[in-house]
Amino acid sequence: MPTIRSLMEEGPIAINLGLQGFAKALQDQSRPVIQVDWSPPPPQDEEMQDILDELL
């Protein structure tokens, strides 16, 4: 399991959620990064999402 120490030793290996420019800037610095195609959870599913999170 990574820790802050491994982050500092290995440098960022990133998962980017949100602004794609942040992923591109990391790529421009030759760092591995994966962009998540993120969208907000539908509000009515909040309770269901908590249950699913719990189960998973």
Partner: protein, 519 residues
């Protein structure tokens, strides 16, 4: 005849930066007085209601739905609504490769992931950050408006797991020489820094680089980390990590004034640090300085860089600075051309911490300043859009950035404001910061150059001389190029300094000189 219309596009999600560009383009269309393209989150809907749009019309929109709100000439509004699709065509992202459909999908494709960079809207950010921590992944949390209780819960969880949450509201980090968020191309070196302010970290790391040294790691912690509610949880984690890091010889801590209890907690921790420590609590009144600190506490960003360089044991030249004689000559050349009524400073900042430091420079000289983010002892401005007397404005503050891009990305609001300040016959000096680096505008100085030229022309035509004083926060390795950006500003007529402190000090001297002349 003026009309307001709301158009809703169901299940069309776009990120805020893209929507800001749509908003701006729509606003610029003839006949349009007000435009906003936002996702239908409760917060955005409340803003639109405040702007005068009907609550009932907004009700059907959910967080996954795009809302376009338009106000203006009826025919112009209608024309845009009828052709809305043309305005929301998203440019194909460059080189970011195939996207993962979820966090878990991303992790399965890149199992060694060690950092989640999260910039989704604040109300959803905590859930994503918790998911990252649960997988043993540290978090860089750019999102703001994350509830305080979520921040505390996330940071406690991270501390227990040996991880860190940088943020919320964290703009900058430098991890092993790699810039995350709004960061500059800074060489690696012996100085580790922990900062609760993004532009504070940028200015610090750029000056360290310009002095010839480098940064081992620059760890952002978010603007609330040193409040008594959060208690400096991420700052303490970062100090521990830098103390253990073999590449770090000196630990620097930068923040605005911490909460009282937290300040003591941080001082006690830093007193026990096994490496040389230096700190700058920007804006902290001299009589509030902790007496038990066994490390140097600096009052400016330039001072903490100098102290950190000294502690690192390297013999370095420092960054460019004018001699006292050169400054005197420059000052005289500026003030002698000013008209009798010119006496005030107007500062328009992209960097919140730089605005803060400039206020401190003015406060130390006894100059009272109005601001939308006032330092202790300064005055709260009533209307942030209208300057009075001496005014320093953080144009990256919430009131300027709801639905519009941050001034580090888009200069439109600063350009308008520069024009407005130039009309005021009592203004003597305009103080600006220009911030380079990853994710900032590709041409930050060029964006402002025409506005600076126009401002100087306007004042010259009216028989006045306006001093435009700027500092550029950047390095020679930044995508925009430090020298190129400085040259663009000089050609436009600005006096360019290497640091915000230098620029602020020169602008202060102009104000003091004018006060003296005018009695």
């Amino acid at each position: 005849m003026s009309s307001r219309e709301i158009a809703i596009k169901k299940n069309r999600y776009f990120d805020s930066v893209f929507l800001m560009t749509v908003t701006r383009r729509l606003s610029e269309q003839p006949g349009i007085e007000n435009a906003a393209a936002v996702m239908g989150s409760p917060a955005n809907k409340a803003i639109l209601v405040n702007m005068g749009f009907a609550e009932e019309a907004l009700a059907p929109a959910g967080p996954n739905d795009l809302i376009v709100a338009l106000e203006g000439d009826r025919a112009a509004v209608r024309r845009l609504v009828d052709h809305l699709e043309e305005w929301i065509i998203r440019p194909t992202p460059e080189r970011t490769g195939p996207m993962a459909i979820s966090f878990d999908d991303a992790l399965s494709r890149q199992p060694k992931s060690n950092l989640a960079v999260i910039s989704v809207p604040g109300e959803y950010a905590a859930r994503e950050a918790h998911a990252a921590l649960a997988h043993g992944i540290s978090v860089f949390l750019f999102s703001d408006h994350v509830p305080l209780e979520d921040e505390i819960a996330l940071k406690r969880k991270a501390s227990q797991a040996g991880l860190i949450v940088m943020g919320p509201d964290c703009g900058t980090a430098l991890i092993g020489g790699i810039g995350v968020g709004f960061a500059n191309a800074v060489r690696r070196g012996p100085i580790g820094v922990v900062a609760s302010s993004g532009t504070g970290l940028q200015e610090f790391s750029c000056l360290v680089h310009r002095a010839g040294s480098g940064v081992s790691h620059g760890i952002g912690t978010g603007s609330r980390d040193l409040s008594d509610e959060v208690g400096g949880l991420s700052t303490l984690t970062a100090v521990n990590a830098l103390e253990d890091d073999p590449g770090t010889r000196v630990v620097a801590v930068i923040s605005k004034p911490p909460g009282k209890t937290t300040l003591q907690r941080i001082v006690e921790r830093l007193n026990r640090c096994g490496k040389p420590v230096v700190a700058c609590f920007l804006g902290l009144a001299p009589d509030s300085r902790p007496e038990n600190a066994r490390f140097k506490i600096c009052s400016t960003l330039d001072d903490i860089v100098t102290a950190a360089l000294r502690l690192s044991g390297e013999e370095l030249a420092g960054w460019p600075a004018l001699s006292a004689d050169q400054l005197e000559t420059l000052l005289h050349g500026q003030v002698r051309r000013m008209a009798a009524q010119q006496k005030y400073i107007r500062g328009l900042f992209a960097g919140g911490t730089l605005c803060y430091q400039s206020q401190q420079v003015m406060r130390d000289a006894g100059i009272i300043v109005y601001s939308n983010a006032p330092l202790d002892g300064m005055r709260q401005i009533k209307d942030p859009n209208t300057s009075i007397e001496n005014t320093l404005i953080d144009m990256g503050a919430d009131e300027f950035t709801v639905g519009t891009p941050h001034p580090m990305i888009d200069a439109t609001q600063r350009i308008r404001r520069i024009q407005a300040e130039a009309q005021d016959p009592e203004v003597a000096v305009l103080l600006l910061d220009v911030i380079l680096g990853y994710n900032a505008s590709p041409e930050p100085a060029g964006d402002l150059a025409n506005a600076i030229r126009a401002a100087k022309r306007t004042t010259a035509d009216a028989g006045r001389h306006l001093s435009v004083v700027a500092s550029v926060c950047g390095t020679d390795g930044d995508p925009q190029g430090l020298e190129e950006q400085e040259e663009i500003l000089r050609e436009a007529g600005a006096i360019v300094f290497a640091s915000n402190l230098q620029a602020s000090s020169f602008a202060r001297d102009i104000v003091l000189q004018r006060m003296e002349v005018l009695g």
